[in-house]
């Protein structure tokens, strides 16, 4: 089932009653979610991603805009008539019911022609339980389960009615790091098997990158970019998106375009054909640095962290907005590597200059005022 959001806007009355200013949680969100895909809504907390999810679920009514499931306009439909499954952040399992009763709960609500016999219900419940591999826990109560198991029960409960759309609100945030990895693979697998259009909300960019077919990056209620994960990373539309995705994060410098050339500090690092002279922000991915004797960007070496496959070179540059410039460097280029390592071994002095050549496709230029990307 494809889901279409048209100019979706949600305003909440402001906390401050005197000012009468509405808080805009979601602003003019338009997007078509293709059928059977896994979509990640990504953004820092308070960016409106959970509100968007609640609008799609029908728990909230939009101030403006429409929501379509396939051809149907479901904007005014109450949640129960939308055919959705929703997994809550802290699972919302009923603590007084067993796992089995929890999974059966949505089925027991069915009325009229949809009503199922007891045996049919049990069969469906076990089917859902098997899908998430908890069929041996059916008689326990949620309190007796681990966080990961509770998560699976919540997913089973959301899936048991065979929803047209599955919504997950921060599905991994309550799990520890190890379980998180495992569970996100699990979600991916379940989504692949069921082919249900799935939308999940997260503030963790790595989580979104790793399993989504598409990522929607949001900030303060406004959609910043919608693209495939790799594309969002490789081709951010603005400074916010560039900064929000990637670990270690992108290095940001203030820069200058002069005579169709890009300057960082006094270093002319790149050609910038067709761009008029102006002050800019420059974002460079850590892997975009390559230490070379003839490199264009001069930094002062501060330290090296060896990480096995790669090493991480930490340096300083006056134009950098971050306190340090962090670059990840492969160990192929033996000669330059040796030099850097030997430099970092002794006492590092202020004149330990390291020069980097930049990989053009890892360098993003943004307008200073709008922070929008300037494409070369």
């Amino acid at each position: 089932m494809e889901v279409t959001l048209q100019n979706l806007t949600k305003k909440f009355p402001g906390r401050d009653k005197k000012k009468h200013e509405d808080v805009i949680a979601v602003n003019d969100f338009t997007f078509e979610i293709p059928d059977g895909k896994l979509i990640g809504l990504l953004g820092p907390s308070g960016c409106g991603k959970s509100t968007t999810l609640n609008l799609i679920s029908g728990l909230l009514k939009p101030t403006e805009g429409r929501i379509f499931f396939g051809e149907e306009d479901v904007t005014d439909l109450p949640p129960e008539n939308r055919g959705i499954g929703l997994v809550f952040q802290n699972y919302a399992l009923y603590p007084h019911l067993t796992v089995k009763q929890n999974i059966l709960f949505p089925l027991e609500n069915l009325k009229g022609k949809d009503k199922l016999s007891k045996a049919q219900m049990l069969e469906k419940a076990y089917e859902a339980a098997r899908l998430v591999q908890i069929d041996d826990l059916m008689d326990r109560k949620p309190g007796e389960l681990s966080g990961g198991q509770q998560q699976r029960v919540a997913i089973a409960r959301a899936l048991v009615k065979r929803p047209k759309v599955l919504l997950l609100d921060e599905p991994l945030s309550n799990l520890d790091a190890r379980l998180r990895l495992q569970t996100r693979e699990e979600i991916r697998r379940i989504q692949r098997e069921t082919k249900i259009t799935t939308i999940f909300v997260t503030h963790d960019q790595e989580e979104a990158m790793s399993i989504s077919d598409m990522i929607v990056v949001m900030k303060e209620g406004v959609v910043q970019q919608i693209d495939k994960p790799q594309k969002v990373y490789d081709d951010p539309k603005n400074l916010f998106v560039a900064k929000f995705l990637g670990t270690p994060p992108v290095n940001v410098f203030t820069g200058q375009i002069k005579d169709q050339k890009l300057y960082i500090g006094n270093d002319c690092v790149m050609e910038a054909k067709g761009v008029k002279d102006q002050a800019v922000y420059v974002g460079i991915r850590p892997e975009g640095f390559c230490p070379r004797a003839d490199g264009t960007l001069c930094c002062i070496l501060q330290g090296v962290e060896v990480m096995g496959r790669d090493i991480s070179v930490i340096s300083a540059n006056e134009a950098s907005l971050n306190t340090t410039v962090r670059s990840i460097v492969g160990t192929e280029n033996k000669a330059d590597m040796e030099k850097i390592l030997s430099m970092s071994e002794g006492r590092i002095t202020n004149d330990a200059v390291v020069k980097f050549a930049l990989a053009p496709h890892k360098v993003f230029i943004f307008q200073k005022e709008t922070e929008e990307r300037i494409y070369l």
Binding site: E72, D73, V74, D76, L77, P78, N81
Partner: protein, 291 residues
């Protein structure tokens, strides 16, 4: 297209249903509010009707066009309502005050000090919480009578002071104050008593206020013990006073004056409640059973 109208209908139905539920809910809530408020209204209304007007109404009227304060004057002059009032104020203040001192010291000992036998004593205290007042009141009555303390404030106040529950409540609160504060104070050479006065009591002020309010309500409304222990009008509290007024006061039928007395008695607590609304309600839900 047909599908769309169908959904529209569903939504419309849901909205109407919600409206109806809302109206029904408000109706019942207002109904009960009326049941609660009506006695208060009736009491105020009756208290400002003149004696003759009230008695001439075979069918009671819901309002009066000629309110009078004469009944309030009568309430204070014909019967010693002022005396009852003062007695209750004295009783309430002294009982609450002494109780606060006693429970604070005890709670401090349980929460902060280490001494042998502490745990046993605490368990005994806890088990006393389950003892109903009705069981011990008999002997207390005999004790106070034998001590010749009937019709004295001492007789009224002494048995009303103890409250295991409040000791427990306060002890729990004291225990939440981090140990570090105590050790820091000890290092600075602060005595235990000074620490209690300067640190623990200020920190626990909200709980102490809650306890005070609950105890004041309890004192103001206490009826059974004062009734047993006083038969001299000079020592009646308001509850006994109102009973006395009812049975012998204005002559049985001067109901407006009686209602004036009821209003006077009820007002202090209601005012106290309206001022400390949140505190009272939070305190009661934490451990207040009436009676």
């Amino acid at each position: 297209m047909e599908n769309l109208t169908d959904y529209g209908k569903i939504e419309k139905n849901a909205r109407t249903r919600k409206k109806i539920t809302n109206i029904v809910t408000y109706f019942f809530l207002v109904l009960w509010a009326v049941v609660v408020l009506f006695p208060f209204y009736w009491m105020v209304l009756t208290s400002v009707k003149s004696y003759s007007a009230y008695n001439s109404e075979y069918i009671p009227k819901f309002f009066t066009l000629s309110p009078t304060l004469q009944n309030y004057v009568d309430a204070f002059t014909t019967v010693p309502l002022g005396k009852y009032f003062m007695n209750t104020v004295i009783f309430t203040i002294v009982t609450t005050g002494v109780m606060l001192v006693v429970i604070t010291l005890a709670a401090f000992a349980f929460a902060r000090l280490e001494f042998r036998g502490k745990n046993i004593v605490f368990v005994i205290f806890l088990s006393l919480m389950m003892i109903p007042n009705e069981l011990v009141i008999i002997t207390n009555f005999v004790t106070i009578t034998n001590l010749d303390m009937r019709n004295t404030f001492a007789g009224l106040i002494l048995p009303s002071i103890t409250s295991v529950f409040y000791i427990y409540l306060l002890k729990e609160n004291f225990e939440q104050i981090p140990d570090g504060l105590y050790y820091a104070a000890k290092v600075d050479g602060t005595s235990d008593l000074k620490y209690l006065l300067k640190v623990m009591i200020p920190i626990s002020k909200p709980t102490l206020i809650t306890i005070t309010i609950l105890k004041v309500i309890e004192c103001w409304n206490s009826y059974v013990w004062p009734r047993l222990i006083t038969d001299d009008e000079n020592y009646y509290l308001v509850s006994n006073g109102i009973q006395e007024i009812r049975e012998n006061g204005f002559g049985r039928e001067n109901i407006p004056a009686m209602m004036a007395a009821v209003v006077v008695i009820s007002v202090p607590l209601i005012v106290l409640f309206l001022i400390f609304r949140k505190k009272v309600m939070a305190g009661v839900s934490r451990g207040g059973m009436k009676g």
